[in-house]
Subunit: 241 residues, 2 copies
Amino acid sequence: MKRKACAEAGIKSFDVDLPEQVLESELIGKVHELNALPDVHGILVQLPLPKHINEEKVLSEISLEKDVDGFHPLNIGKLAMKGREPLFLPCTPKGCLELLSRSGISVRGKKAVVVGRSNIVGLPVSLLLLKADATVTVVHSHTQDPESIIRDADIVIAAAGQAMMIKGSWIKPGAAVIDVGTNAVNDPSRKSGYRLVGDVDFQEACKVAGWVTPVPGGVGPMTVAMLLKNTLDGAKRVIEQ
Amino acid sequence: MKRKACAEAGIKSFDVDLPEQVLESELIGKVHELNALPDVHGILVQLPLPKHINEEKVLSEISLEKDVDGFHPLNIGKLAMKGREPLFLPCTPKGCLELLSRSGISVRGKKAVVVGRSNIVGLPVSLLLLKADATVTVVHSHTQDPESIIRDADIVIAAAGQAMMIKGSWIKPGAAVIDVGTNAVNDPSRKSGYRLVGDVDFQEACKVAGWVTPVPGGVGPMTVAMLLKNTLDGAKRVIEQ
């Protein structure tokens, strides 16, 4: 999907396929090569990595100026801190805020609940919402009575990776619901034997929410769009310097 | 207070006093000198800095291994991220968690509300509480009806810098209340003409809360203790390497 989107937008993309047994040092060497190439403006390391490779170490080797995923801890630190700006915002969180903004939903002063606290979505989207002046609560596997907390939210970001855990009755009437979950559930009626569903019961949510994103077709394409935007911004920054 | 505590604990401390008109480059030069001294294990830059100096730039020049305040964005990023550990936790947030732990208050699954979102206290303490599996809500100046949110909390961290804003009626009976605020209010009965109060109405809170820290004498000394602990840990890390 990312390759196709790049091609459509006029961004050249290429894969570097490495065998699963690749040494960590070889993978890092490859990252360094790409860091040094002036025509490369964005580098993605496809996760998860094989178990013998230290993911943290590899990701931290990507040049900050090419970290279009925005996962570098220095980027996350600047994202978290008042008065600091990261070079790149992580794509899915950035896409969530873009969806709200394009739907005319103001964030300031709203109660926002983020379900899940992953480094890739839950955590950074909660930091972004806080920076945008929402009153943010993070709900996770240790939260007691998540239902009552979610039902109080004007904005729900569902990123728990639990198929259809959020029922219609959990949603405040009129709330904006962004469903980041992508879960495969068995479906014998499909040729593949499965279908993709979100963390939200979409059919039920449609009857209650003011806005709700579908899965697939909601957050996913927006994430890809933000990745292209980050890459373009990174290229512009280099050219303007 | 920090100097005295260092002397008592057997940590040598010294000040580098620079004139207010000091050039940013001179200040950074001084930081680099201290970075290079093997006998220096912790560096504090006293904030706020004069307006002509870029605080962010100066702080980011402190060697990560000597950043005992824990304010470096890379430290904050690692504090925020699951599976990552910063070299140093910021002192006041670390002290808040220590106070809870030493009082036998478990954090996991509890509703925690952090009032304030400063880079020094509110933000990092909310990230620490989240890592400790609390369900965390951050309340700030744009929050609507903060009272009802605070009243729902098992743990309240007050770090808004608003004298006695949190009344007894805002507190859930039995809650643990940590008051980080230090506000000077007029008091003609004192020789100095003022006294220090927290963000919590202490007299009222005492009647409702299960635990409440006083101001002064609560979080302040714990912050200093954590600073000494960070410095000791930093020294140990160097010696063990």
